[in-house]
Structures are given as C-alpha cells and as structure tokens.
C-alpha cells in the first residue's frame, strides 16, 4: 500500500523532471531551423535556413535608445538607430571624420565664410513617399532654430543650441537664414563665420526628417516613429527589448542596403551578450569587455572588430585646490602615472597612451609633444622642488561606472594610488554614484579625479575648448583651469576661417596644456565589437554609430 502511494508521488515528480529536461531533448531537433550555426554537423538541412536568414542582422547592445527623433537626442544608443533611418546633409567618410557628400552632393562656401550653398541630390524620397528637397531642409532647420515653431521641443534641442550658438534671436546665434533657392538648392547665410560649420552639419543629430511626418505626428509621437530618407525604414520598437528596421527599397544609394532586416536587441549584461553571440541568438554585439577580446579572437566562428578611437580618459586636477594649484605638483603626479602598464592591465591592450587631451585620429593633434615617461625619481624630485619633500595627502575621485574611455575606474585608481604612495602622496580613493559624481565634479568639489570624453564631431574644438577652456568652468571644464593664453588661442581658432590657421592655433594650445598639466591624459581606448565571422563590410565609425547599409553576410 505504502509503496503505491510513494510511487505515485515520485511519478509526479519524475514527470515534472522529464517535462523540464524534455524541453532540452526536443530542442536539439529544432535547433537548425532557428539557429543556423556554421558548425552544425548536418550541412544539407542547415544550409537552407542559413541562406534565408542571412539577410537579417541581429545586433546585441547594452541599452535601449531614448528616442528616435535625432534632434531630440544626445545619447549614442539612439544614434545607432537614427543613423540608419535618416541621412544628414553631409556625411563623414568611413572610419574618419572627414566630411563627404550625403544628401547634399556638393556645396560652395563664400570667401567671407558667411554663405554656404548646397546642391541637393535629386530624386530622393522620404520613407512616407514625400519628396526630399530644399523646402524640407529649410523646414527642418527652422524647426530647430525657432523656439516658436510648433514642432520645436519644449526642452529645446540641446545639440543645436551647443553647435550653433543658441536659437533664433539669440545674440550668439550662428545661422541667420536658410533659403530654398530652387528645389535642389539651399542657401545658408550666417551671422558670423563658424569654422566647424560644415563639420557640425554631419553630426547624427542634424539629420533631415520628413516634414509631413513630424507635422502629422507631433514631436512626441515622431520620437517613437521616425521617418527619414535613410537606408532602412523603421518598423517596430519593443521598449527595452528590440528595435526592428527594414530595407528601404528606394534608397538613393543604388545597390544598398544589402540586408533585408536589422534588429537591435538589448542585452544589458556584457557576459550574457557574448553568450548570446556564441550560441547564435545574435549576429554581432558591441560593448565587448576588453578581457573577452582574446576569447573572441580564439573562436573561429567569431571576429573582433575594433572601432577607431575618438575619446580620451584622463586624470584631472582641480587647480583651485591646494596643493594642486602648483603646476610642479601636477607635473610630479604626471611622472608617477604608468600609462603603458595601465593600458596593458585594464584595457587588455585595446588602447594607446594619451599625450594630449585629444586623440591622434583628429586633425590638429600635436604629435610633436613628447610625453613624460614614468619616472618616480623625477616625480619625487619635483615634489621636493615644490616644497613637499614628504609628500601630502589627497582625495582621489574614481569613476563608479565603466565607460568606453575608462573600463574600470576604481581599479585604475588603485593602481595609480600604489605608485603615488612611493613618492609620498597618500591618495584616498573616493567614489560615489555616477550622477552625483558628475554633478559634484562639475561644481568643483573634487581634488584629483578621473573622467573622460568621447568626441561628437571630430573637431579639435570639441575636445580642447570643451574640456579646458575657461568659459566651460562650471560646465565640462572640471579641472577649473583658466589659462588666458590658451583661452585667447581657442577663441581665435573658433572664428578662424581656414583649417591651416586653426591647426596652427590648436598645436600651440596643446603645448600650453602639456606644460601646465591641468590633467594627465591617460589613454585613447579602442572600443571592441564582436561579430560572426561571416559578416563583412562592417566599418565602425569613430563617433560611435554608423549606417549599416553596406554590411552583408559572406555567401
């Protein structure tokens, strides 16, 4: 009797166990159908689904987009999508920030630098079927610049404000007017020359949207249902999960895009994302842990893709706080930071030591400056000269989050702490929640700190002036370094009309910065992506997002 009861209970348990394990068992039979794997042993049945699926690319990434109306956005995850749905007037060359034609085929700049005439590509249509023309360009710019425009955002368009000196009617506003001369010609008149004007127009945020779609939906709805002229058409957004784009069959760049469908899938955890790639659930991923780069290289089914570097990670000094107000002290600390060792240990070699606050990939970079080498004796000597033979105590703020330019702030800070100890500097590591960190460093509460910057548009001004001009104290100049000579040169460079002239000025600025050491540039990191081995023509752009029109699967 007892036995029967026990067996009944055990059977129910067993049944459940079998139900669970059974899921795995039947799974194997199903696998080839949904996950074409290169190593699948039976080639005949696997080959066919692989072919039909090969027009669909699934990209894993760490976070969701904020919104899909480019002008409303400032974050990289949003631009990864908008770059594929929209086009800008001018674009950037593959893998560099050199300006190339896009929606505008060619342009003329008046000698005084105040008039720009763009000749637009003809026959281009928005995804909703309306025509792209000079009126559409004019409408977009008016929406951005005119605060009273019905489709202007109540919170403003931050990038427009930053890049073009405010909005219509502001004293510093750059663009005086935009005129549609004829359907294919649009003329910009500026209030004052702006050297990086063309460069700015290529930024992801200044993409041209369909006026009809924005008017019909209003900015809020358009932010979730974007309509542009780009290689892919927006299909669906499942928040925090996937964004699906489909091929634009009428794309103006004939023969492209190569893929039928693009799916961006959010997988927050870096390790889980790599697992999904190895198990074939996704085709490529960004945000690879530097430590996993070797595993990707060793895996025959995968390839490692490196994004050209356009960032800087640095150790900054709040020059208003003692003893960091003494340039000798700052220089001493600079000698005590072992950059190559840090890059080897924490960037897994995916980066290069930085000398200047901007990377060599940007024009105007001063390659003649020779960096201070790691030398503790020299550091000690400088400290003695500065009046601190026995060192001092200092608070060292370490970043609490990983950023492309700083993979592990606290660990890097600890490494630096060890070397500083050897020259008598007792650095106490301070860290806090990220938003608070940003806020407090902006307010200047820190002493020594670490931070970084990823470039927006490949212009030297976007690094040098943003990070170190005295006008940006209280903003992004968290070192609070106010150097009159540097300021004069930076302002001159902003209004200079020729690139040669600007280049000369930036070279000088970098020398002043190097001499006065408001910061120790640490590294320009190389962000890594991983993809299936059969993906070709993926050209990662230094600015962090790019159009995937040319990407395809190798047959």
């Amino acid at each position: 009797m007892k036995k029967r009861v026990l067996s009944a209970a055990m059977t129910s348990l067993l049944a459940l166990a079998m139900l669970l394990s059974g899921c795995g068992g039947t799974q194997t039979a199903q696998k080839p159908a949904e996950q074409p794997k290169t190593e699948t042993p039976a080639p005949a049945p696997a080959a066919e689904p692989a072919k039909s699926a090969s027009k669909q690319l699934i990209i894993g990434r760490g976070g969701d987009s904020v919104g899909l109306d480019p002008i409303q956005q400032t974050d990289g995850e949003s631009f990864k999508i908008t770059e594929n749905v929209f086009d800008t007037l001018v674009g950037y060359a593959e893998e560099s920030t050199e300006v190339v034609p896009s929606l505008a085929e060619k342009w003329e700049i008046a000698p005084d630098g105040l008039t720009y005439t763009f000749h637009l590509r003809s026959g281009v249509k928005f995804h909703d079927g309306t025509d792209f023309n000079a009126e559409a360009v004019k409408w977009n710019f008016e929406r951005w610049m005119d605060k009273s425009h019905p489709q202007h955002n109540k919170e403003g368009f931050e990038y427009y404000n930053d890049m073009f000196g405010g909005y219509k009617g502001d004293e510093t506003h750059v663009i005086k007017s935009v005129e549609a001369v004829d359907p294919q010609t649009v003329k910009f008149t500026l209030n004052r020359p702006l050297a990086p004007f063309i460069q700015n127009l290529g930024m992801s945020c200044f993409a041209i949207a369909s006026p009809k779609a924005v008017q019909e939906m209003g900015p809020e709805k358009f932010n979730e249902n974007p309509v542009g002229t780009g290689p892919f058409v927006f299909k669906e957004w499942k928040r925090n999960d996937t964004i699906t784009l489909e091929k634009n069959p009428n794309y103006w760049n004939a023969g492209f895009p190569k893929l039928e469908k693009l799916v961006f899938k959010v997988i927050p955890e870096n390790t889980a994302r790599l697992t999904a790639l190895t198990s074939g659930e996704i085709d490529m991923m960004d945000g690879l842990n530097p430590d996993d780069a070797q595993a990707v290289k060793d895996n025959q089914d995968l390839q490692l893709i490196l994004r050209p570097s356009m960032n800087i990670g640095f150790v900054g000094f709040n020059v208003e706080k003692k003893p960091l107000d003494n340039p000798k002290v700052r220089e001493a600390i600079s000698y005590a930071i072992n950059k190559p060792a840090i890059i080897e240990a924490f960037f897994a070699g995916l980066g290069q030591p930085a000398v200047n606050p901007m990377p060599p990939s940007i024009w105007g970079h001063n390659g003649n400056i020779k960096d201070r080498e790691f030398n503790l004796d020299k550091a000690k000597q400088l400290l003695t000269e500065a009046g601190f033979p026995n060192g001092f105590k200092i608070k060292f703020w370490a970043m609490p989050v990983a950023r492309p330019y700083m993979p592990d702030g606290v660990k890097i800070a600890e490494a630096i702490q060890q070397d500083l100890k050897k020259i008598g500097v007792e650095a106490e590591i301070v860290t806090m929640e990220w938003a608070t960190y940003l806020e407090k460093t902006k307010a200047g509460e820190q002493e020594m700190f670490m931070l970084g910057w990823t470039g927006d548009n490949g212009d030297p001004d976007n690094f040098l002036a943003t990070l170190l001009d005295k006008n940006n104290i209280g903003g992004n100049n968290r070192t609070r370094w106010a150097n009159e000579d540097a300021h004069k040169l930076l302002m001159q460079a902003q209004s200079a009309t020729t690139k040669e002239e600007r280049e000369k000025l930036y070279m000088q600025v970098q020398e002043i910065i190097f001499k006065d050491v408001p910061m120790v540039p640490l590294a320009h990191s190389t962000p890594a992506l991983a993809a299936k081995a059969n993906i070709i023509n993926y050209k990662p752009h230094p600015k962090g997002s790019e159009s995937l029109e040319k990407v395809e699967f190798k047959e």
Partner: protein
C-alpha cells in the same frame, strides 16, 4: 456574507496603505543625491540647459507642491510622463508589467510544484536520504546568488549544450506579434505553435533562476509545517482508523499544513514581481524590474514613483488573495 464584508474592508484598507506608500516613495527618491535634469541631459550638458530643464520639469517647486501635483495626476489614472523617454508611463509600463508577470508566474509554478512536493516528501520520509538531500538542495537554493546561477545556466544550457536560448522573450529572427503582451497567450491566440514553443523555451532558464530561492523556501516551510500537522491528534486518529498514508498526507494533513505555505507563496510572489532586476538584467528580459532600475539610474522620478506604486498595489492585491484563500481552506478563520 462575512467574507464579502471582510473583502470590502480589506479593499478599503488599500487606500491608506497606498497613500502611505506613495509618500514614502516620494520622500525617499528625493533623498537620493543627484540632479535629474543633469542626468537626463548627460555629462555634456551646459549649466543653462540644465536650469531650463529643471524649470520645465517643475523641479524648482517645493516638494509638497510636487507631491500634491503628483497625487492629483495619479487619481485621474495618469501615471505621469517619463522624463527620460518622454512617453506616457501608463502606456509604457504595460508591456514591462506583462513580461515580468509572465516570468513570475512561471517561476512560481516551478517553485510551488517542486517546493511543495519536495517538502511533503521530506516530511513524510523524515530523516531519510531523500529528506537529507532535499533539504541540502533547499539550503543551497536559498544561499545561491541569482547572478551566479543565471550566468552558470547560460553557460551550460545555452553556450555549451545549446539546448535553450540565453536571452530575451522570443526568437528575434521570428518575433512574436504582441497583442496582449503575454507572449504565451499571444502565440496561443495566433495559433503559432512554433513560436509558442520558442516562448516556453525562453522562459525556462530565467524561470528557474528566479524560482530557485522561493522553491527552497517553500520546500522548507512545507516540510516543517507538515511535520507539525502530522503530529496532531486528528492525523493520529485518521491513521488509527487504518487510512492509507497517502490519504492521510494529501487529504487530511496537507490542507492544514498549507496555511503557512500559502502565506509564503503570497509573499514570495510579491517579492519576485519587484525583485526580478538581476534575473531580468542577465537574461535581457524587458521587465518592470529593469524598467524601474534603469529609471533609478536616470533619476526618472515619475517612473520610479509610479513603478513602485504599481508593484506595491499588486503586492497588496496578492496578499488580499492569500487572505481570502485562507478562508476557503480553513473555515475556522474568523473575520473581525
């Protein structure tokens, strides 16, 4: 009748509970350091832009005005607008809530079926090898970090054995057309059997990861509760009558033993609903836990407030359900 008036009283009690809850959440999130305007605009924002945004968001108003504005809004069924995405929370939270609910149900089914049965068998075969093994597993289960368990599952079942998918709710190469946002239901409604199978497969690993701790707790509670009941006089009488052990256990003992177990199940379900952040992060599950968690990072006050309030409401409702179930199981329970 008594049950009805009790139910009504319990439902009315939700009002002060939720009101208190809203005050607590509102106060706590304002104690978090960091400026939402700065966080929204990012590290590149200019001070003027931040100040403008603070004004637009009403962050410059005194906090009690902000609270009453919020309360007014909630009472009209409007959960507010996300500062981050600019979308309406009432609309935005739906799919997240559905995703989490689906995962929670699967986890609890797993936890209850395995946990209750293991607990019963352990009590029945007290001090046997089964008892020892089950309780050892339960002990490991409660102490296991979800993060580690999740990554191990992915490594073994997805990466090495390739049996189960590691992330997401569905196969992105053949996505589910969402109707109700409950994917099992959606695929059933659409009659998409291959997709249904995909959805089930996607539920298994996160379901086990999330269900392991409640399973272990339920097994332990069931065991001790059963042991206690089995020593009761009426059980001894039942046995003395010559009733088979199976009926003694499953008919007489179990019903009474289930009361504390039900409480635990209710509490655990509530905990899972809100505490799924880790599981959802590892398994790329677009659920409400991650929604609120991301909102905390973004200082998205309206989402944090409304999200927690929604979770709290569900939690309270589940407890109400548990209380009502008590009455069904044990008529001796009186309502005052």
């Amino acid at each position: 009748m008594a049950l009805l008036s009790y139910s009504i009283r319990r439902i009315l009690m939700l009002i002060p509970v939720l009101l208190g809850m809203s005050i607590v959440v509102f106060s706590i999130i304002r104690a978090i350091p960091g400026d939402p305007a700065l966080t929204i605009l990012g590290e590149k924002a200019s001070p003027k832009a931040i100040e403008d945004l603070r004004e637009v968001l009403g962050l410059n108003n005194p906090w009690y005005i902000q609270y009453f504005d919020y309360l007014k809004q909630i009472l009209t069924g409007d959960l507010g607008v996300s500062l981050h995405s600019g979308a309406s929370i009432t609309q935005e939270i739906g799919p997240y809530l559905a995703a989490t609910t689906e995962l929670t149900i699967v986890s609890m089914l797993f936890a209850v079926i395995i946990g209750v049965n293991a607990g019963i068998l352990s009590a029945w075969k007290q001090n046997s090898w089964f008892d020892y093994c089950a309780m050892l597993i339960a002990l490991i289960g409660v102490s296991m970090p979800i993060f580690w368990l999740g990554l191990m599952e992915q490594w073994l079942f997805a990466q090495e054995l390739k049996w189960l998918p590691s992330v997401g709710r569905d196969n992105s190469r053949n996505p589910v057309e969402a109707i109700t946002q409950f994917y099992i239901l959606d695929t059933l409604l659409a009659g998409q059997w291959d997709q249904l199978w995909e959805v089930i497969k996607h539920l298994i690993l996160p379901g086990i990861a999330l269900g392991t701790i409640p399973m272990a707790i339920i097994a332990r509670i069931t065991r001790s509760s059963m042991l206690e009941v089995m020593r009761a006089d009426y059980v001894r009488t039942a046995r003395a009558k010559g009733l088979a052990q199976f009926w003694v256990v499953y008919k007489h003992a179990l019903k009474n033993a289930m009361i504390p177990v039900l409480t635990v199940i209710g509490l655990q379900t509530g905990l899972l609903l809100g505490g799924a952040v880790l599981t959802e992060t590892i398994f790329g599950w677009p659920g409400v836990g991650r929604y609120i968690f991301t909102a905390i990072g973004n200082r998205d006050y309206p989402v944090i407030q409304s999200g927690i309030l929604v979770i709290a409401t569900i939690f309270v409702l589940i407890n109400l359900l548990v209380d009502l179930l008590y009455a069904y199981i044990d008529p001796r329970i009186k309502y005052r």
